[in-house]
Structure formats: structure tokens, C-alpha cells
Amino acid sequence: MTRNQLLALLPILFSSATVVWVMTAIAIKRHHWWNATFSVVGLNLALLGCVVAYFVSPQIVTPLLIVDSYACLYMAMVLATGLATATLSHAYMEGYEGHKEEVYLLLNLSVLGGLVLVCARHFASFFIGLELLSVPLYGLIGYLVKERRSLEASMKYLVLSAAASAFILFGMALIYSQTGALGFAEIGVAVAAITGGAPYTVMVMGGAMILVGIGFKLSLAPFHLWTPDVYEGAPAPVAAYLATASKVAVMAVLLRFFVEAKAYNYDLLLDVLSALAILSIVIGNLLALLQDNVKRLLAYSSIAHFGYLLVAFISAGQFATEAVGVYLLTYIVTTLAAFGVVTLVSSPYKGHDADVLWDYRSLFWRRPYLTAIMTTCMLSLAGIPMTAGFIGKFYAITAGVEKREWLLLAAVVFGSAVGLYYYLRAMVQMYLRAPWVRKYSAPLDWAQGTGGAMMVALMLLMIVLGIYPQPFISAIQAAGLQ
């Protein structure tokens, strides 16, 4: 292994070291603040490692991993999400009675899985990364062991996620049986040679099984059924992580697979993805209309958003890669901020999360700053100009128009119109005055200070992305796939 390869691996190495470090620290002495700080420092180091890796990229490290600018970008996204989650967890866990420290251990493990996934160029690393990403999540979702909803969500996720992984593994095996290859690029070459007959059928079966598993991980309709329940039951910061990092990493590897294995040449695959996209947009938006729980609402909205994202994804080509990147960036910022507000309203943890819409009624009079942040989030999710979400949606629609995907675009327009209704409904709740609420402004108390500062930063980022996206676009453009 050369020096450059080691440098390229820095984010993953730092992240692994952090896991060990945090675990040792917990074993020596339980201390919430110190453990949180250790993991945040570790994540920051890994983020710096991304910068270093960028300068030595592209590097192929063993047949399993590749660290190119694309991987660096998505590693940075996963790490930043992990950082945000750690910060939110710190505010949230302050009020939890049981052991608080293992949250950071599990979180770091999951982030490590995300990093591996993003760099994967081989089915083995794909699967290792995916499992390393998902397994700690079972623990995180069920972390509040004394709460029924949390445990239930954890069990649900455990069973369904394991089933999805099994699907993916079996699909990989089927593909391997016909191609004899596990590397993405090699599979692409081998598949192109298969033209028909039984091998083709087995290939299609294998591809379909992988797609089912991926559909589950990205919670695309009709594999979305777990999403609202799990988001509702999971502790708010974990839900934030679940909705962002875990999906982003999967999306990143999917895009790499499509590009390297030349999967864009198969119309059948694209048709299936189009169907998934339309279903996700329609089902996600329509079911979100019925929700009175903010976390469930965000869950359905995330289903719909991955439908929009698929529109960009399906459009293929250089521009699609860029569009997916921009969309994911805007989605992460917005979703993190939205779940962040839910977290901070529920912090410190007092037995249950503030997640019913009624809890947010007249929030404006109690927490004006959080309300401003949540308002920006809702507008951004709805894709209104001056917010990040608009740029994301604009990119997705542009990618669709470029490839003349009129049917998908019709679904996007329909979905956006329906979506407005529930985003506005959630937004206006915060301003309506409940009869018994006095007008007073409660400052964020100090335990939430870091979380609050981060939220303000996220809001500013949302607005900057909405008004002057060019620097971000340039960065994402530089991190394209060939």
C-alpha cells in the first residue's frame, strides 16, 4: 500500500480510530460531555481527512474501495451529517436517565459504514458498508429502551432491514452466478455480453432483488411502509440521521454502480425506476396529507423527495450526477434542520418527543428563532425560491427536461402542488395563537447552545444555497463521476 493510498484512506482510518477511542473512553469512565466531545473531534478529524484525500484522489485502494473526488464529496456529506447528529444528540440525551454514552459509539460505527459504502466499487465492500451502516441503527432507534414506540420501531427496522439485506445478498449471488464478477465495472462488462436466454432471466432476477433491497433502504414506494413508524419511534436525532446520512450513502453507491456498471443502458431498469419514482411521489405526498405527527409527516415527505431525486437520477449523464449531488446536498441541509428543530423542541428528553402538530401550535410566541428555522425548512421542503429546496428541485426538473421525461415531470408538478398543502399546514400551525399561550420569548438554554448555533448555521446555509448556489455547484461539478 502506497503512502498516497493511505492518505486517501484517512477519513476511514480516523473514523475507525474514533470508534475504538470512544469505546475505550466509555470503558474507562462514563462522562456524557467528554464522550460526545471525543466523537465530535474524531468526526472533525475524519472531515479534515476528506480534504487530504481529495488532494491525492483518485486512488484505488485494494479492489474493494476507490477514493475519488466523488467519494470525498459524499464522505464529507456523511461526516457532516454525523457531526450534526452528534451535536443534536448531546442536547437531546441530557435529559435521558439511562446510559447516554453509547449513542456516540453506535453513531460513529454507522458513519464508518457510510464512508465505506460511499467508496465501494465492489459488491463485497458494498455489502460490508451497508451492514455496518444499518446494524448500529437497530441499537440507535431502540435506544430509549423504556419507551414502547422506540422499541417497536427498532424491532420493525431490524426485521425489515435484515430482510432487505438478505434480498440484496441473494441478488448479488445471482448476478455473480452469471457473470463471475463482483467489481462494479467487471459486472458491467460481463453483463453486456449476456444477450438472452436463462442467464438473462437470472440476471434480471438478481437485479430486481437488489433493487428491492435498495428500495427499502431508500424507502421508495412500495417499500416505504416501515418509514413513518420507524421515524416516529426513533429518538429525534436518530431520525435525522436515518433520513439523511443512511439514505445519502446508499444513493451515492447506487449512482456509482449505475455509472460504472453502465446500468443506464438497460431501459427496463430505468422504466422500473421511473415507476418507483412516480409511486414514491404520489404515495408519499398523498399520505403526508393525512398526518398529524411531524415526524411521520417528514417521513412521508422524505419518501416523496426521493421520488423527485430519482427523476434527476434517471436522467443519466454528467448533468444527472451533478443534479443528484445538488439535490442531496439541499435535502440533507433541509431535513437535518427540520429534524433538528423537532429535537431541540423535545430537548432535553423528558419521556417523549414533541412530535404532534399540536405541540408546535403557537411555537412562534415561545421560540421565535426555532420557528424561523422551521419555517425556512418547510418552505425549503416545498421548494420555494430563496431556499435550498428550490435549487434542488430546479435541478431535478432541469435534468428531467433535458432528457424529456415528461411523465416524471408531470408527477413532480403534481407532487409539489399536493406537498404545499401539508408543508403550509405545518408551517402556519406555529404562528396560530393557541388561546392560553402568553406571548413570551424563551431563550434557548445553555444545554442546547451548540445545537442552537448549529441550527442557525443550517438555516443560513439553506438561504445561501437558495440565493447564491454557484460555489456549491462548482464543488459538486468538480466531484463528478466519469
Binding site: F390, I397, V413, A417, L424, Y468, Q477
Partner: protein, 517 residues
């Protein structure tokens, strides 16, 4: 740079209002007033110093009166491009005026969250000014959508819950969804246009001049032109509103606060007419000519439908809302008839209707402040209880019914004269709108102000602030009716340009093989 200021002043002012509420409720009001007066003043100054024979649409001398261009998102060929010609100018001046009115009329009405209210009001106005100035299609869409959010808040937070109605949040949401959904169709059309241009020329740009030059070269296939025109037309038709798509308007008006209604009727509806004149007709002359008879009949439907429905309204604000539908029908007829006279009439009608409908909504608000009802059945006999308000209402009703000597008359007259040679049948049918206007206006006067008074108690009459706004508006309407030439001169070049481009749509399109983008 002055164009940037036109837009930036209300933005900054709004921000200052919001943060300034801590200095007391008066502070945001005064800041708002000063801000909008500054905008009005700037636009008048521009009016005086500019040479409005210049416009990009003038084939002899394609040049803006003033222009500002800076790169924004170069990756996609998007620039921050503002430009001014006569049409933009008069509408910006109207925006400034309506802004001053909206702030003046909510001086007493709005007592909750005054700062946030003014933030929304001023940002909405800034968005509208942006719409009138933007010469980059992305920027145009940006402002087009951006003005919705503050309007949503104005209706949802400061609106009225009318007994029997569906509530202000419902009305606000309906307004938002209607306009946003149609706006997305326009976005699709914009992108399709941009990519068609990109595929043909290899440069990606959202710039209005570049795209206009390309569409005028006849490089677009007829089929593509048709679909793009539909995308733009639907968005503008919802906002205008054209009849089958109008149902958000009465709801929004009846629940909105006075300032919101004034703003909505006074300028928001005009952005749609502006959009057609600026984008839909020049970009797609052939397709627009094809759709013209259909669009004009829609206009006629709007004229008659709005007038007939207004006869049966009890809520005085819904009444004015339906009369707006009727008046906007004239604008649609005028635009698509496409003669220079009719187009000039459209501009006059936009200005005059903005002022007269705004004034009527302010009067509704003033009556509501005194009687706490907007139901005409509960009014009756107000003439004997108030000395000044009823005659002023009479004046504006007369303006709305198109009495000669008022600005509205000039507008409607020019529209009808201009469209007669194009389509006499439609013109004749539209004329019935004038008669219906007389019927509904007088009916409203009769119901609300004449008859037996419901009570002998005298009501507080107009104070100095209310009196000043009303008198200045009356003077303005009279001026426009008696000496409209200065306004016609300013917009002449632009309207002539639109007319010339639109007329090319009558010729067979250059046969160039094109494909959908």
C-alpha cells in the same frame, strides 16, 4: 444600479420594520411608509429623466432605458439581469403607489405583530417589483414564486375568518397552491425553451434578450411553440385570473386583510397581464395568434361571469373581487386582440383598475372598521350616517363602471376600439360588460348606502389620513381620465414593439424542422 435599489429598498425596509418593532408599533409603519414613498419617488424620477422611446422590443433601436446585469449562476447561464422600459416603469410606479396605500390603510387595522406584517407586505412588493424588472427567465420565476410566501402570511395571519366561510388559512393555502402549481408549469415551459435554445445554439442561457432573438428568428417548431405557450398561458391565466381558474380569488379577497386585498387587486393580478405582454406574446407570436380567439372568448366569459356573480354577492369584498374578474376579462380581450390601441388600453385599464379597485377595497376596510360587518344586507342607509365616505364610494363605483372622465373609461374604450377591427363579435359581446358594470355598481350603492338606515347613530367619519389617500386617488383617476396622454406616451414604444412582434404571428411560421427539446 438604480434598478437594484428599486428592489432592494423594500427588501431592506421590510427587514428594518421587522427588527424595529421593539421601538414601538409606530416605527414599522413609518419605516414602511418612507420606504414605499422612496420607491414611488424613484420611479417618478425615472419617469422624468428617462427616454421611453427606447425598449428592447423596438426593432429600430433595441435598447433598454436602464439595465443592470451581473453573473449569478454561470453554470446554468443564469444572470441577475434587471432592465427597464416604459411598461415596467408605469407598473413599478403603480406598485409604489399601491404600497403607500396598503401601508396607510392598515395603519389602524393591523395591531398584532406590526413589524412582521410590514416585513411581509414590503417583501411582497419587492417581489412584485422584481417581477416587473427581471429580464432573466430564472430570475423572473424566482420573483414570481417569491412574492407568494409573504402574501400567504398576510392572508393566513392577519386575515379575517368570515362566518360561514372556510377560514383564512384555507383561503391562503388555496391561493398558494393554485399559483404555485401553475407556476411550476411555467417553470417547465421556461426550461424547455432554454434547452431548445441550448440544443439549437449550444449556449445555455436564461436571458430574455438572447431567447427573444432566437424565438424571433423562427427557429422553433410550431408544435414546441404551442406547448411552451400553453405552459406560460396557464400560469398567467391562473394569476390574472381567467374564468375557469379564478376560484381562488374571491376566497383570498374575502379573507385577506385590507392591505392584502389592495395589494392583490392592485398589482398582483397585473403581474399576469405583464407576463403575457412581456413573455408570452413576444416569445410565441404564432401560437398566441392561434389561441387568440379562444383567449378572447375566455376574456368575454370572465367579463360576463364576473359581472353576473357580483350581482348576487352579499359580502362587499367578494363583490369587488368578482368585479375584478370582470375587469380583468377586458384586459385579456385587449391583449389578445393585439392592436396598438387595444394594448395601450390594456395599460390604462391595468393602472386605472389597480387604483379604483384598491380604493374600493380600502373603502370596504373603512366601512368594516366602523360597522364590523361586510355584509351589504346589514349596511343600508349609510349615506345619512356618514357625510364623506358614501360620496367617495360613489365616485369610485362610477369609475369602476367606466364613466367618461375617469381612467377606467379610457382603458375600456381603447380596448374596445382596438379590438373591434380584429373581432367585431367579441367586441360587441364585451360591450355588454359596461352595461352590467353600471348595473352592479349602482346596485351595490343602492344596497349599502341608500335605503332606510339601520340605525340613527352617527358613525365616525374619515380622518385626515383616510381623507388624504382618497382625495389623491380621486385626483389621479380624474387625471388619467381627462389627460391620459403622458401615460400613453411612456408605454407607447413598448406596446408598439409588442404589437409588431405579435403581428408577425399572423404570417405563416418559417418552416424549420424542429423537435421537442
Amino acid at each position: 444600479m438604480i434598478l437594484v435599489w428599486l428592489m432592494a429598498i423594500p427588501f431592506l425596509g421590510g427587514f428594518l420594520c421587522w427588527q424595529g418593532e421593539r421601538f414601538g408599533r409606530g416605527f414599522p409603519r413609518w419605516v414602511g411608509m418612507i420606504t414605499m414613498t422612496a420607491v414611488l419617488g424613484l420611479s417618478i424620477w425615472l419617469w422624468v429623466v428617462g427616454d421611453y422611446s427606447q425598449t428592447l422590443l423596438n426593432p429600430a433601436n433595441p435598447k433598454w432605458v436602464a439595465e443592470f446585469r451581473a453573473d449569478w449562476i454561470p453554470r446554468l447561464g443564469i444572470s441577475f439581469h434587471l432592465a427597464l422600459d416604459g411598461l415596467s416603469l408605469v407598473l413599478i410606479a403603480l406598485t409604489g403607489l399601491i404600497g403607500v396605500l396598503a401601508i396607510a390603510c392598515s395603519w389602524n387595522e393591523v395591531q398584532r405583530n406590526v413589524g412582521f406584517f410590514h416585513l411581509n407586505l414590503l417583501w411582497n412588493l419587492a417581489g412584485v417589483i422584481g417581477v416587473f424588472l427581471a429580464m432573466d427567465l430564472f430570475l423572473f420565476f424566482f420573483f414570481w414564486e417569491m412574492m407568494l410566501v409573504p402574501m400567504y402570511f398576510l392572508i393566513a395571519l392577519w386575515g379575517h375568518n368570515i362566518p360561514g366561510g372556510k377560514g383564512r388559512v384555507f383561503a391562503a393555502t388555496k391561493f398558494f397552491i393554485f399559483t404555485q402549481a401553475s407556476g411550476l408549469l411555467m417553470l417547465l415551459a421556461i426550461l424547455a425553451l432554454v434547452f431548445a435554445h441550448y440544443n439549437a445554439t449550444g449556449t445555455i442561457t436564461f436571458g430574455y434578450p438572447e431567447l427573444l432573438e432566437w424565438t424571433r428568428s423562427g427557429a422553433m417548431s410550431a408544435q414546441l411553440e404551442w406547448w411552451l405557450m400553453v405552459g406560460f398561458f396557464v400560469a398567467f391565466a391562473v394569476k390574472m385570473p381567467v374564468v375557469p381558474l379564478h376560484s381562488w380569488l374571491p376566497d383570498a379577497h374575502s379573507q385577506a386583510p385590507t392591505a392584502g386585498s389592495v395589494d392583490l387587486a392592485g398589482i398582483l393580478l397585473k403581474t399576469a397581464a405583464y407576463g403575457i405582454l412581456r413573455f408570452a406574446l413576444p416569445f410565441f407570436p404564432h401560437a398566441s395568434q392561434e389561441i387568440a380567439p379562444f383567449a378572447m372568448w375566455l376574456g368575454v366569459a370572465g367579463i360576463i361571469y364576473g359581472a353576473v356573480l357580483s350581482l348576487s354577492q352579499h359580502d362587499v369584498k367578494r363583490f369587488v373581487a368578482y368585479t375584478s374578474v370582470s375587469h380583468m376579462g377586458f384586459i385579456l380581450v385587449g391583449i389578445y386582440s393585439g392592436t396598438e390601441q387595444a394594448l395601450q388600453g390594456v395599460v390604462m385599464q391595468m393602472l386605472a383598475h389597480g387604483i379604483s379597485a384598491g380604493a374600493l377595497f380600502i373603502l370596504c376596510g373603512e366601512v368594516y372598521e366602523r360597522l364590523h360587518t361586510r355584509d351589504m344586507r346589514e349596511m343600508g342607509g349609510l349615506w345619512s350616517r356618514l357625510p364623506f365616505l358614501p360620496p367617495i364610494a360613489m365616485f369610485f363605483s362610477a369609475a369602476a363602471l367606466g364613466l367618461p372622465g375617469m381612467g377606467n373609461f379610457i382603458g375600456e374604450f381603447l380596448i374596445l376600439v382596438g379590438s373591434f377591427p380584429v373581432n367585431p363579435v367579441i367586441t360587441i359581446v364585451s360591450t355588454s360588460g359596461l352595461i352590467l358594470a353600471a348595473v352592479y355598481s349602482l346596485m351595490m350603492m343602492q344596497r349599502a348606502f341608500f335605503g332606510a338606515p339601520k340605525s340613527e347613530e352617527k358613525l365616525r367619519d374619515l380622518n385626515l389620513r383616510e381623507m388624504t389617500t382618497m382625495l389623491s386617488l380621486m385626483a389621479l383617476i380624474l387625471f388619467m381620465g381627462l389627460y391620459p396622454q403622458p401615460i400613453l406616451d411612456v408605454t407607447k414604444a413598448t406596446m408598439a414593439g409588442v404589437q409588431v412582434i405579435y403581428a408577425t404571428g399572423l404570417q405563416a411560421p418559417a418552416a424549420v424542422a424542429g423537435v421537442l427539446p
